[in-house]
């Protein structure tokens, strides 16, 4: 059995028809990891024992006729997700030996739905990065070209799903960290509305930005997982008390008459590759042919987004990492990686007496303006479509010596986090054999609209069927 050829939807059907057991499915997943992960380095911890046991339990339930939406499905969790009794490092050496005594809410919900956590995936330490190269445990490789980055910070999650080491993987998205690796690895990656999926138990990067989502091969799989993980959590005061629609029921509905905005600031950006622009234009043509109306819109404060982001996010990072003070967890602060240290320094500076007003407070005000840009845009259109990245995936090492150019990788994505709105990356085609992603951005809690359009587009194009050659 090759998981590369399976979606969650197909695997559920085959489990149901007893074409294979959960134990066989999990075994195949573990074997795939053993076979190819030495090349990819997607996993930091493989929970072989726990997963094997969980698969047996799942088979028993299946035999009893129990039906759960993810029963027996092997999923991977980004290493920022606390997993009870399974080592959780956040990709950082400083908590190399940390074993959480509790599960994150999202992990609980996945397990309750029957999912089997197969292991913990590699990532830029603490989520700080766009390429996966900031992992304290070494980078993950892009399955479509092993010399290139898979995108980050949910690098291992993307590579694991793209190569069929599991059927879905969780991620976190503070500035791009689900959508960018989804774009670089030809996957569907959802960054839901801030507060849609609870953050409890997920190691915080920047608390007012961190969004909990996941990566899958198809839109159906993605919507299915999202309706499981979403919803109010009494343990997270910032989780939204907004009813969760059955996202899968929105798939297949016509998109005729939907209004799609193309923000000019994104298409005119510096360094925008002509090939990428053509891919996105072709994609919008597809949607136009399905009856959507395409209009130009403007998000005038886009140019301030990166500066604003890189004041606010490091400020929150410096605070959230303060607990790793050398008293507990076994290592002292010298063990922090370069990027973590850099962000702690920037954030500490921005929050210091005498600088707070000029940096943090000002950036907070700019954030309000950027949020308003999106609100204004959504008063005219249903969704926005922008490229996910200005070029194809870059080479490993290409940007590591220039942190600023690395920061600018997220230029098409960070504004979405500043606004807190949902966005999804859709596979939109290939340039020189490398995946290109398209972002569909919606208004607050309009995930179902994103899924509806994404599904219509996927139905026409089926880019997900193009697998990496390993």
């Amino acid at each position: 059995m090759d998981l590369s050829d399976l979606t969650i939807k197909e695997a559920r059907e085959k489990l149901h028809k007893k074409e294979f057991s959960a134990a066989e499915l999990v075994q195949a997943s573990l074997e795939r990891i053993t076979a190819i992960d030495p090349q990819i380095h997607a996993f930091l911890t493989v929970a072989q024992k726990e997963a094997t046991k969980a698969a047996q339990d799942a088979d028993q339930l299946i035999a009893q006729g129990v039906n759960k939406p993810l029963l027996g499905i092997p999923v991977a969790a980004k290493d920022l997700y606390s997993t009870q009794n399974i080592r959780t490092t956040a990709g950082a050496k400083i908590i190399e030996h940390y074993i959480p005594p509790y599960d994150a809410t999202a992990v609980c919900r996945l397990k309750e739905a029957g999912a089997i956590v197969i292991g913990k995936t590699n990532e830029d330490a603490w989520g700080h990065g766009s390429s996966g190269e900031n992992s304290d445990y070494g980078p993950t490789k892009n399955p479509y070209d092993l010399t290139r980055v898979p995108g980050g910070s949910s690098s291992g999650s993307a590579a694991a799903v793209a190569t069929g080491m599991c059927l879905a993987a969780t991620g976190t998205d503070t500035g791009s960290s689900i959508r960018l690796p989804a774009a670089f690895c030809n996957l569907v990656g959802i960054k839901p509305t801030y507060g849609r999926v609870p953050r409890y138990g997920i190691i915080a990067m920047a608390s007012s930005f961190d969004t909990i989502g996941h990566l899958t091969k198809t839109v159906y799989d993605n919507a299915l997982v999202c309706e499981i993980t979403s919803g109010k959590d009494p343990y997270d005061g910032t989780s939204a008390d907004v009813p969760v629609p059955k996202y899968t029921s929105w798939l297949g509905r016509p998109i005729r008459g939907m209004k799609i905005g193309l923000p000019k600031e994104y298409f005119d950006a510096n360094g925008m590759d002509g090939n990428i622009r053509r891919v996105i234009e072709t994609a919008t043509e597809v949607l136009k042919n399905l009856g959507a109306e395409i209009v130009d819109v403007s998000l005038p404060h886009t140019k301030y987004a990166m500066a604003c982001y890189y004041v606010l996010v490091p400020s929150e990072i410096s605070s959230n990492l303060a607990r790793f003070d050398g008293i507990r967890y076994g290592y002292t602060r010298e063990t922090f990686g370069q990027e973590a240290k850099r962000r702690i320094m920037i954030g500490t500076y921005a929050l210091s007496a005498g600088y707070y007003d000029a940096y943090y407070l000002k950036a907070a005000k700019v954030r309000t303006l950027i949020k308003k840009d999106f609100d204004d845009a959504f008063s005219n259109v249903d969704v926005l479509i922008v490229p996910s990245f200005p070029s194809t995936p870059f080479a490993i090492g290409e940007k590591t010596t220039d942190p600023l150019s690395m920061y600018l990788s997220d230029i098409f994505m960070c504004p979405v986090n500043l606004a807190g709105v949902p966005a999804i990356n859709m596979p939109a085609g290939f340039v020189d054999g490398l995946p290109v992603g398209m972002q569909i951005i919606g208004s607050q809690f309009a995930e179902e609209k994103l899924y509806k359009i994404a599904y219509a587009y996927e139905h026409e194009t089926e880019w997900y069927k193009i697998k990496p050659n390993l």
């Binding site: 606390s82 956040a90 005594p101 509790y102």
Partner: protein
């Protein structure tokens, strides 16, 4: 007489006036901690037994505020005459210390729950004084460090049971001018907190802690006889000194008094020597009764406050705030005035009775019982509120052990105890019968009320207290 003006210009009086403000921390007696479900009652518990990922600050754990703690803080704010902020929020206060597991304390910075209150004091010389309350805010307590020897090694251990216990901070303006004022204020605050039932406010258990800030204002007051001083030369009486000294580690009212007294003397001596005290934090050493320097101004923390992103801001509607106001109940000052008016008690007695809510409630229950009772003896003796008050105060009645009904019985019995000899009683009875032949006649004609009239006359003549049933029997025997 010709005055030497030059000389009088130089005759200035130097005065040293203490300027004191205080911060008081009160641990709230909520069932659970500030941001998690662990029990908040941590005193005397086995170390590190009341913990969870949240109060341990484990990676990924998030705080969810305790609604009761927020409400109680607002109640206290209102009881101290504060304005409740319609919009309030939590902030992170960053500093490094091993007992602070997140590296920051969740506190409140620029939008505390309540601001701008005041509390009126009466000092021993009966002078009224108003102390302004700057703010009342809510935060979480830290863990506790313990220094011990384990396996022959001197080690520092951390007990996180206290970590995350709700803590209210009350900050006054620098309005105190004496140790006594601070003492009266602190005790009065403790009383209010206890009245509200939001904390035991026990200094010894650390559920109430005082941190005074002391400085000395040195003033040159010009000789009042001098006529030529221009107005501009009169020093600004309201100007605060350019420094202040904060004193930590105080865990009793007595130590607070001692620490402030010591600090006033220390700073005055410095000023008299012409030196300027420096802004610093000092710790009180109870064994020696002195304060010692801990941290200079230059070493002051930059707490890097910023809004706590894990907790949405709080909003309170005016209707909610009014609702909180109605929950406060009668506070000691109001109750004392009422007791004086309603029961004719002296200010002193009323003050003693309202010391605790329990005691004042007990008093009123006993008063009520004298009216509602079916007990003839109690009716007969017409036990007054004043008598009940005296009894409670003088006999130091343990309100936990004696019910108000039992108390009344005690008073009746004691009142009834005879202090008049049989001969004296007989004499008085004979005298009364002789003085009231009409009543004797009426009684003999079957008018029972005449007996009561005679009884009353005997009681008036009794110098001591006496069981009235004995009097009654005596009277009846003579009337037969």
């Amino acid at each position: 007489m010709v005055q030497n003006k030059t000389k009088s210009m130089n005759q200035e009086l130097t005065t040293y006036e203490p300027i004191i403000g205080i911060e008081i921390h009160v641990e709230l007696a909520t069932a659970s901690k500030m941001f998690c479900g662990c029990p908040a009652d941590q005193f005397g518990k086995e170390p590190n037994t009341q913990l969870c990922p949240i109060c341990l600050g484990l990676p990924g754990a998030l705080p969810v505020p305790n609604k009761k703690a927020v409400e109680w803080t607002i109640l206290l704010g209102l009881a101290l005459g504060c304005t409740v902020n319609e919009e309030s929020k939590f902030d992170r206060k960053h500093y490094f210390y091993p007992d602070l597991p997140k590296g920051y304390q969740i506190s409140q910075y620029d939008q505390p729950l309540a601001i701008n209150g005041s509390l009126e004091l009466k000092t021993q010389n009966s002078k009224l004084k108003t102390i302004r309350i700057h703010r009342v805010h809510l935060e979480e307590d830290t863990g506790k460090l313990m220094h011990a020897t384990v396996d022959g090694q001197r080690v520092s251990l951390v007990d996180f049971n206290r970590s995350g216990v709700p803590l209210v901070e009350i900050v006054t303006e620098p309005d105190f001018r004496s140790v006594e004022e601070v003492d009266v204020f602190a005790k009065k605050l403790q009383q209010i907190v206890r009245y509200l039932g939001i904390s035991g406010a026990d200094m010894e258990k650390g559920s109430m802690r005082i941190e005074p800030s002391v400085s000395i204002r040195k003033s040159q007051i010009p000789n009042p006889k001098s006529q030529t001083i221009s107005k501009s030369k009169i020093p600004n009486k309201n100007k605060l000194p350019a420094y202040r000294v904060e004193i930590k580690n105080i865990n009793s009212f007595k130590f607070a008094r001692n620490a402030i007294t010591y600090e006033i003397e220390r700073q005055t001596e410095l000023l008299e020597r012409g030196e300027m005290p420096t802004q610093q934090t000092r710790g009180f050493m109870e064994s020696k009764g002195v304060t010692i320097a801990q941290r200079e101004k230059e070493e002051a923390h930059d707490y890097r406050y910023f809004p706590e992103p894990d907790i949405p801001p709080m909003r309170f509607a005016q209707s909610q705030i009014s609702n909180f106001k109605s929950q406060i109940g009668e506070l000691p000052d109001t109750k004392r005035t009422r007791f004086m008016q309603e029961y004719g008690l002296s200010e002193y007695d009323a003050g003693l009775l309202v010391e605790s809510r329990k005691r004042s409630d007990y008093f009123e229950e006993a008063v009520k019982a004298t009216l509602d009772t079916g007990n003839q003896a109690i009716k007969l003796y017409q036990i007054s509120p004043k008598a009940i008050a005296n009894w409670i105060i003088n006999k130091k009645v343990d309100v936990a052990c004696v019910t108000p009904a039992q108390l009344l019985d005690q008073i009746v019995q004691a009142t009834a105890t005879t202090s008049v000899s049989d001969e004296d009683l007989e004499k008085i009875i004979n005298q009364v019968l002789a003085e009231n032949p009409k009543a004797v006649e009426d009684y003999k004609n079957g008018r029972e009320q005449a007996l009561l009239y005679l009884l009353g006359n005997v009681r008036k003549k009794l110098s001591g207290t006496m069981d009235m049933s004995i009097v009654r029997n005596g009277l009846l025997a003579r009337l037969r």
